[in-house]
Every structure is written in structure tokens, then in C-alpha cells.
């Protein structure tokens, strides 16, 4: 019997998916469990398995096309079977959902599968634009970047396909802006419309919702990082690891959050949930947006383990290989723009979480110690809190503890 293959819901926030690639052709046999199609959701690229065995009779949504979740994307059946009823019932379902949009959640409100005529991610990209999430860099550029402790991801590439080359590293080192800031071909005096990728749409929707519904307030504190710098050096001198400040900040947040469950909370309308575990989302910049892979149970993990897990998560986040449970369910989020030299900034809360920490750069500055002006290293962090569940004093006490942890990092090592 012919069965419909429908656009699956691959994340909590997904409303539609883009067909990246059909791995089976029309007329080809499929066995239950075969991967038949790759789909781009708002968060990641995922593979869809066939739930039935038979012949792939009809591809309804071609590569590059997008379709709302639950809509028909293909039909599997016997080679000579009449599939018109499956095709018809699918279009009926879509008509229904169109006719009664009020009764259906907005997810299904879109009409029949739309086929985008604009190039989707499978279409060849114009020359000079990166075709995938990979950062392209010449071997020399990579070596120079690592020698000068630059993150190659933050350097715009001026070579073919956005390749980062020697002159880009030199420009970054000199602090000068490259003559041609991007590899895109830009005609001055014109404008262009860029269609939003699924991930961009999700960010647009969720950030607007957050800022409109959650009353944000912001509290900033400055921490003396001399001890944290020494602590990190000690760890890296002894262990075969490259512990980052982010790793240390994550651990410090986890410790402080366990002491302040009001900050480690989610807003649920008529109640709030205070968590006695710490799942920290870490914002990772992508080509066309960002994603926040989650380090679970940070309260139980040492800095070394946090380092390893974060490295793996960030890697896979950049390659869009995260599974939904790896970016859903954080209790708190950290966004770090320190690598760009940003002193401080404020972040938008990622709902339903109650707070987000915006981390600035560690800067060399004159500070007053024991009545003397000396050279110090300070870092400013700003907590954005949802005032519906967190008050100013709670936020301040949390930051006070966080500062104490960062200034006395030995406290981050388990002593029990």
C-alpha cells in the first residue's frame, strides 16, 4: 500500500524544512531504515530514514524545495500501484490546514509544499562565496594564526571561496581592515535581497519574542582576572590540554548557579522551574547565524572534561552536525565576544531560560590595588535577567559569587 513520506519535525522550533539532497531516485527500491533524504531544519542538517519498504514512486518536493512539517514530500509504494489517492489526500490535508488556520497552531498554517525558485544550499554558490560551513584557510594562514593565537574563524578570507590567506592574517595582526572586506562581489550603489535561511528565521522569531515578552534588565560586574590567568597557565603547564577562559568561566558559572537556583531557572507562565543541575548553552557563531550547543551537568564536571566536551560540541556545531538534544534544554546561556576585543555588551535571553551572561574581553588596564595604581587584567561580564523571575539583588548576588570564583579559581577544583 502506498504511504506518504512527510516532512518530519526535527527540532522543537522547526516549522519547515529544506530538502538538501535526495539519496534515492524515483523508481529506486527502498528498504525500511534506508536513508532517503537529507533535510535542513532551523538548527541542523539531518538524515531521514524510510519507515517503509517499497519503491520510491514520487518525489513531491525536489532538492532545494522547502515544505512545512507534516506535509507530503514523497510517496513510497509498489512499482505499479496507483498513488493518486495518497497524493490527493495530502493536498486535501493542506487545503484543510489552509482553511482553518485559527484552529491549528501556526506550524501547520503554511500552504502546500512550496518550491523555492531561489538557489538553495545545494545549488552551486556564486564564485567567491563559501559553499559550506567549513572555514577555508591556506596551511600557512592556519600556522600563522595559531602562532599568533588568532582564531581563524574571526578573520575574513580574501582568497578564492573565502579562503583565509597570509595577507588576511597580516591584516588582522596589523589591526587594519582589509581592502576588500569580504570575498563577495559587491557592486557599490546597489542593494540586494538575501532570503533568510531557516536558522536565520528561527533566530529572528525567537529573539523578537524574547525581547517583547521578557522584561530584561542588566547588571554588569568587573572581575580581576590575574588569578584566573595564572590558574589557566598552571593547568596548561601540567596537563596535555588547552584550557580556555571560556572553560573556566563555564565552571565558575556552574558553581555560582548551584548556589543561586533563582538564576538557574526557567519561566513557565504561572510558575518557574528552579534547576538543581546546570546545563549551559554556549553561543557558537555560524556563517548565517548562531547555535548554542549545551554542556550538560556542568556542576558535576571538571574543567578538563568541560574543555573536551566543548571542543567537540563547537566543532560539530560549526559543521551543523548537532543532534536536537545537544542544543535544546539549557538552563543558562553564555555568550562570549571577548575574542573580538569587546569590553562589554548585553545579550538577549534565550527563552524559556531566565538569564544569559555576556562575557567581554580580558583587558590590560590600570587598576588600583592597595592604594597603588598597577597593571591589572580585568574582564567585564553582564547578566541579562528576566525580571518576571529574577530581581536585581538576586542577579547582583549571583555576580558577586561569580566574581569571587573567578578571582579565586582554586575554588573551581573539586575538594570533596
Amino acid at each position: 500500500m502506498a504511504v506518504a513520506v512527510k516532512m518530519p519535525k526535527l527540532s522543537d522550533t522547526m516549522t519547515e524544512g529544506v530538502i538538501l539532497k535526495w539519496l534515492k531516485k524515483e523508481g529506486e527500491k527502498v528498504t525500511q531504515g534506508d536513508i532517503i533524504v537529507e533535510i535542513e531544519s532551523d538548527k541542523a542538517d539531518m538524515e531521514l530514514e524510510a519507515f517503509d519498504t517499497g519503491t520510491l514512486r514520487k518525489i513531491v518536493v525536489p532538492e532545494g524545495g522547502k515544505a512545512p512539517i507534516g506535509s507530503l514530500i514523497a510517496v513510497i509504494g509498489e512499482p505499479s500501484e496507483d498513488i493518486s489517492s495518497v497524493l490527493a489526500s495530502a493536498s486535501m490535508a493542506n487545503v484543510e490546514s489552509q482553511a482553518a488556520p485559527a484552529q491549528k497552531p501556526p506550524l501547520a498554517a503554511a500552504s502546500a509544499p512550496q518550491v523555492m525558485s531561489e538557489p538553495a544550499s545545494t545549488a552551486p554558490a556564486p564564485k567567491g562565496q563559501p559553499t559550506d560551513g567549513r572555514i577555508k584557510a591556506s596551511p600557512l594562514a592556519k600556522r600563522l594564526a595559531s602562532e599568533h593565537k588568532l582564531t581563524i574563524q574571526s578573520i575574513p578570507g580574501s582568497g578564492p571561496l573565502g579562503r583565509v590567506i597570509k595577507r588576511d592574517i597580516e591584516a588582522a595582526l596589523s589591526g587594519k581592515i582589509p581592502l576588500t572586506p569580504t570575498s563577495q562581489v559587491i557592486t557599490p550603489g546597489t542593494a540586494e535581497e538575501v532570503s533568510l535561511s531557516p536558522i536565520r528565521k528561527t533566530i529572528a522569531k525567537r529573539m523578537a519574542e524574547s525581547k517583547q515578552s521578557a522584561p530584561h534588565f542588566y547588571v554588569t560586574i568587573e572581575a580581576d582576572m590575574d588569578a584566573a590567568i595564572a590558574f589557566r597557565n598552571q593547568l596548561n603547564n601540567v596537563f596535555e590540554a588547552k584550557i580556555s577562559f571560556t572553560d573556566i568561566i563555564i565552571k565558575a558559572c556552574a558553581s555560582a548557579l548551584m548556589r543561586h537556583p533563582q538564576v538557574n531557572a526557567t519561566f513557565l507562565g504561572d510558575k518557574m522551574r528552579q534547576h538543581h543541575y546546570v546545563h549551559i548553552g554556549v553561543a557558537v557563531a555560524l556563517e548565517d547565524g548562531l547555535v548554542t550547543p549545551i554542556l550538560r551537568n556542568c556542576e558535576q564536571k571538571g574543567i578538563g572534561r568541560i574543555n573536551q566536551e566543548l571542543r567537540d560540541l563547537v566543532d560539530r556545531a560549526r559543521n551543523r552536525k548537532l543532534k536536537p538534544d545537544e542544543y535544546q534544554g539549557a538552563t543558562f546561556t553564555i555568550s562570549n565576544l571577548g575574542m573580538f576585543g569587546v569590553e562589554d555588551f548585553v545579550a538577549i535571553i534565550n527563552p524559556p531560560e531566565g538569564a544569559i551572561l555576556a562575557v567581554g574581553a580580558i583587558l590590560e588596564k590600570p587598576v588600583v590595588k592597595d592604594g597603588h595604581v598597577v597593571v591589572g587584567h580585568t574582564m567585564r561580564v553582564t547578566l541579562s535577567s528576566d525580571h518576571r523571575i529574577i530581581d536585581g539583588a538576586i542577579a547582583a548576588r549571583f555576580l558577586q559569587d561569580l566574581k569571587k570564583m573567578l578571582e579565586n579559581p582554586a575554588a573551581l577544583v573539586s575538594i570533596t
Binding site: P139, L140, A141, R143, P160, I165
Partner: protein
């Protein structure tokens, strides 16, 4: 000392080595009474007589084999091919006997022989008479391949090749025999496997050799330098053994490499150099290695198509700007 042309430089090398060692003799088509198809052996018959300057029939497999046999029993033959295209008739002798005899006899026989003659394209000689075969001979273990680009190098390298205990493929060029150049006074030799930095530079390394270096690459380099691109130009002089150290060190400085050769692209000498550089200087490369080669076709007879198929100044400049991201 006044400049000499290439044929004179080569003749001096043969003459000096024949005078120095009476086991050395020259054999080939038209080398004696006609004084050499390209006059390299002019006057040598008169000086050394028919026992040591030997005209052969048009039978490359035969006289290459005779030369190899003579070398195995203690003589030091120089076998001239009228062009390297004709060596293909003797390919079995060179590859299976000359190259392998030392190894397969367990070291009992050396084959101290030089096969020499012009290779590569001249003008309008068409597909079968224009071949740059250096990569094919360099492919074979047991053969050394030498390709000079100047008169000085030609003389010094040929003398060393004649003294070498193993077979040497010595490739000259018809269109270079008249090229003039200074050569040092008195006796000198140049070791095999040692390349030469023709020009010091810091922006890009260009590796090229023999005729294409002398007649094409140097002109392209002059234009690039004119445009402000500081080229480092390297002449390996010996294709096998290749002076990789010289090239790798240069690429570590310039971060960019273009290899210009007259042969075809597939499995060419440049492909081998590119591999070695990618391995040994990977973290120093700022752009993929570029090659300029002959197009992958039998060389056309028509003048315009012949020119379009061979490496040109334009092609070298284009490749150089590509590795500099200046295109």
C-alpha cells in the same frame, strides 16, 4: 674568455674527458664523418680517429645495446641520439639493461654510460619529433637525468656525467646549440643533484629548467619583476636526483610555487616536485602549487597551435599571479 655557444661547451666537455680517459668514446648517427648532426662533435674524428668517434647505422636499439655492453666490460661510452625522440626505439635497452644491470647483477656490473642528445620541441617538428621525455626517464630507478640551461652548466655537468659510474640521461636542446654563454677558464665540474638559484626573491618561487627556462621562463620572470613581483627563480639542473632541499627552503621563504616544464602535465616532473613541497612545506604554503606544462595533446605541427600548446610567457605570468592571489 670570450663566450662560447652550447655546442662548443659540450664539445669541450667531451674533448677534455676523452683526453683525460682513453676509455671514453663517442658513438651515434653522423657523429664522425658528418661532424655531428648539430656539429657538437665537430673536429673530434680528426683528433681521436675512428676507433673512438664511431658512426653507427640508423639502429638506436642496436647501438644503445652495444654501448651498454661496452660499459659493462669497462669502457665509458657516450651514446648520442640524434634526438631523444629516437631513443624510444632504444627504450628497452635503456630501461631494462642500462638502468637495472647494476642492481640485477648484484653489483657485479656498473654501466658508466652517457646517453645524450637534444630533447623537447624545436620549431614545426610535429608530434613525434618534439617530445620532452625527461619525466619518463626520471621515472625509472637507476637512471640519472641531467638538463642544463646554460653553457657553463652544460660543460660542467656533462663532464661529471661522463665520470659517473651509472647511466646518465643528458638532455640538450636543438634550439639552444647556438646560445652563447661565458664558461670558466680551465678545468671544472658541477656535481649532479645540486640546483642553482638563478635569481633571489621573496614573493614567489618559480622552478624551471633547460630550454623552457632559458628561452621562456626568464622572460616571464623579467616581466614579473618589472611589475614589482620579487621572483625567486630556481634551476634544478638535474631532474634526478632532484635538489628538493633548495626548492623546499625557497618555498618556506616565499610561500608560493610555480613549476614550469616543457613536458606533458600527467605524472610530470612538476607533479613530483609539487608532491615533495606539499609534504615538506605544507604549513608554509599560502596557495596551491601551480604548474605550467605543455598541453596534454600530441604537439601540433601548425605554428600557431604549437605555440598555444607549449608553455608561454603569458601562461607563466598567469600562474604566478594566481598563486599570489593577484589575478
Amino acid at each position: 674568455m670570450p663566450p662560447v655557444n652550447l655546442r662548443e661547451a659540450l664539445r669541450q666537455a667531451i674533448d677534455e674527458e676523452m683526453a683525460r680517459d682513453d676509455r671514453v668514446f663517442l658513438m651515434g648517427e653522423e657523429v664522425a664523418h658528418y661532424q655531428g648532426a648539430y656539429k657538437v662533435s665537430q673536429g673530434l674524428l680528426q683528433k681521436y680517429g675512428e676507433r673512438r668517434i664511431i658512426d653507427t647505422p640508423i639502429a638506436e636499439a642496436g647501438f644503445a645495446g652495444i654501448g651498454i655492453g661496452a660499459a659493462m666490460v669497462g669502457l665509458r661510452p657516450i651514446v648520442e641520439f640524434m634526438t631523444w625522440n629516437f631513443s624510444l626505439v632504444a627504450f628497452d635497452q635503456i630501461v631494462n639493461n642500462a638502468a637495472k644491470m647494476h642492481s640485477m647483477s648484484g653489483g657485479h656490473f656498473h654501466v658508466p654510460i652517457v646517453f645524450r642528445g637534444p630533447g623537447g620541441a624545436a620549431h614545426n617538428l610535429a608530434a613525434t619529433h618534439s617530445q620532452a621525455l625527461e619525466s619518463i626517464y626520471a621515472h625509472v630507478p637507476g637512471l640519472k637525468v641531467v638538463m642544463p640551461s646554460t653553457c657553463e652548466d652544460a660543460k660542467g655537468l656533462l663532464k661529471t656525467s661522463i665520470r659517473d659510474e651509472n647511466p646518465v640521461i643528458f638532455i640538450e636542446s636543438e634550439v639552444m646549440y647556438g646560445d652563447k654563454g661565458e664558461i670558466p677558464e680551465g678545468e671544472y665540474t658541477i656535481p649532479l643533484g645540486v640546483g642553482k638559484k638563478v635569481r633571489e626573491g621573496k614573493d614567489i618561487t618559480i622552478v624551471s629548467w633547460a630550454k623552457v627556462l632559458a628561452h621562456v621562463t626568464t622572460k616571464a620572470v623579467a616581466e614579473l619583476v618589472q611589475e614589482g613581483i620579487d621572483v625567486e627563480l630556481i634551476d634544478p639542473r638535474t631532474i634526478k636526483p632532484m635538489d628538493y632541499d633548495l626548492i623546499v627552503d625557497s618555498v618556506k621563504k616565499t610561500n608560493r610555487l610555480v613549476i614550469v616544464e616543457e613536458g606533458w602535465p600527467f605524472a610530470g616532473v612538476g607533479a613530483q616536485i609539487s608532491h615533495e613541497v606539499t609534504n615538506r612545506a605544507f604549513d608554509y604554503l599560502d596557495s596551491p602549487v601551480e604548474r605550467v606544462t605543455q598541453e596534454d595533446v600530441p604537439l601540433p605541427y601548425a605554428h600557431n597551435l604549437e605555440a598555444a600548446s607549449l608553455p608561454s610567457i603569458e601562461k607563466i605570468i598567469r600562474a604566478s599571479k594566481k598563486v599570489l592571489y593577484a589575478d
